[in-house]
Amino acid sequence: MEAETKRRKLFARLFHSLRRTAVGRLVARVCRLVWHWLRSIRWRSWAFVAPALVLIGFFLVYPTVVTVARSFFGRGVQLFGPKVHFVGLDNWQFVFTNEIMLTALRNNALWAVLFTTGTVGFGLILAVLLDRVRYEKVVKSIVFIPAAISFVGASIVWKFIYAYRPANLEQIGALNAVVVALGGEPVGWLLQRPWLNNILLIVVGIWMWTGFCMVIFSAAYKNIPKQLLEAARIDGANEWRVFRRIILPLLAPTASVVATTMVVQVLKVFDIVYVMTNGNFSTEVIANRMYKEAFLYGNYGRASAIAVVLLILIVPFMILNIRRFAAQERGR
């Protein structure tokens, strides 16, 4: 009992003398600040966003940081496992010199240009044309249906259109049937490297996403006051001029949003290529290559570097989205 009291007194004296030193005062002050900060936090507010933030943190933010780091390490699953070594820029050298990777980069560029032009262009044209006919709703539904089905389903639909059989057999693929009917030889469409087969894959993408663009353009187009177009027509402007000079400028902001969405979609293109050609015959794309390196060859270092390439390509659009959102918030 005696010893216990004594020890307590000793601790108290020690604490007070420490407390009086400069460091002690600083520590006390920091503690007080933290305490006040903790009390000032609105826990109830945080409770609403916490579940989402925890999940997003674990599934999106944490892995992104690790994957960037992982791109400088060798094979193996564990980040700092026994078999994983720091390899410097080796993976990055692979990404920008390996032949298949260069093909993939080239194809992604091709997808980005053709797919975006195709979806935005057709979407815009359809939105404007369909506004002028009475059966608008029916055709809109038809064009929009592919947006609801899966890439896997759409890939089968088009694989069947592109189906090839030797010339002595009857063609069952619609495209080759047309070619043969016109007196041509049947073509193995998906083997026509390096341009035609890629373009034919991109057609599948355009077929799927045009409806999406059309719906957005159509909503924006219907917001344009029709008196504006009528006034121009009365002033003698022909339809093309009305489109060029009035409709197009008014739809430009919408077009920019839609085009951004399409580019982001297309940079990540995976399913169509995976199902239709699996990247063979010069149709490789970045996302499919990443999947192969990681889950077929187990080369997680390279796969991480490839994923980071995708991220780097998308970051500008990420920033663009954030800035658009900030502008929209200011306008609220």
Binding site: R42, S45, Q78, A148, I156, I161, G173, S256, N321
Partner: protein, 285 residues
């Protein structure tokens, strides 16, 4: 006279629209017809050859569907797809509504910055996330399980769903909250009794959007699930079918239609909500 002139002037317009409609409808139509023909006729002649005798019976059968649903196990996969997408969609819509309310109406430091991060994460390539998460999943035994894929889909969907719900909730008039506060309602009560009920149309759009996304997903399933019959969703099984039976069109066409059936039903019955979801996500620029 005037009418005839107008009709002629409009002919190119109708022709152009007709061509578009044909290009968009024919591929799916061909698939649908093929899926009902027997294997020998599929291999022997193009599906368009049936048009002269379109309505004569006997050339159609459900055999291909029976084949893929039972022998190829797509019945089980259909069920798996439902087991995966319904809970995952429900959980993510639920968590997203909480978060959206917090971001829109609760004051706390850093909420703007945090929401900007969420907006930015909407477009992050999922490829960035697989490699670090897989070893954790393996350790926890979540790989190849339903809870594992529920969690992954929920988290991956959260940025977009939160953003969409936020767009709606931020537009609710402030007076509503003021009167609730005067009545002494706690934030949770306000959220549950006032905000949630009026958000139902918006939540329906988000739910449909997210449901179709998960139903149609291939990549996330490839990474977190296995080809095992007990867990493989439709898209995974069908992708494998394409790899292994690439020329068996009677199977592939029927399988493709099985995968489209539910999205098409959802699409035709709830198109309004679907369109609203798309517009909420992108037009506000």
């Amino acid at each position: 006279m005037m009418n005839a002139k107008k009709l002629i002037a409009k002919t190119p317009l109708h022709v152009a629209i007709f061509v578009f409609a044909a290009i968009w409808a024919i591929p799916t139509l061909g698939l649908l017809i093929t899926s009902f023909r027997d294997p020998a006729s599929i291999a022997g002649s193009g599906w368009w050859t049936i048009f002269p005798r379109l309505l004569s019976g006997g050339q159609y059968s459900l055999e291909n569907y029976v084949g893929v649903i039972y022998s190829e196990g797509l019945g089980r996969s259909f069920l798996n797809s439902l087991i995966i997408s319904v809970p995952a969609t429900a959980i993510s819509t639920f968590i997203a509504s909480f978060a959206a309310f917090g971001f829109a109406w609760m004051g706390f430091t850093g909420r703007r910055t945090l929401f900007m991060v969420v907006v930015g994460l909407m477009v992050i390539p999922l490829q960035m996330t697989f490699i670090p998460i897989l070893p954790i999943y393996n350790k926890l035994g979540l790989h190849g399980t339903f809870p594992g894929i529920w969690l992954a889909h929920t988290a991956y969907g959260l940025p977009l769903t939160t953003y969409l719900v936020h767009n709606f909730m931020a537009g609710i008039p402030k007076d509503l909250f003021d009167s609730a506060a005067i009545d002494g309602a706690s934030p949770l009560r306000t959220f549950w009794n006032i905000v949630m009920p009026i958000s139902i149309p918006a939540l329906a759009s988000v739910f449909i959007f997210q449901f179709l996304w998960i139903w149609n997903d291939l990549l996330v399933s490839l990474v977190y699930l296995t080809a095992q019959k007990s867990v493989a969703p439709l898209m995974l099984s069908i992708a494998n079918l394409v790899t292994n039976r690439g020329q068996d069109w009677e199977l592939l066409t029927a399988a493709a239609f099985v995968s489209m059936a539910l999205p098409l039903v959802v699409f035709f019955s709830l198109q309004r909500y679907f369109v609203r979801g798309i517009l909420a996500g992108s037009v506000k620029g």
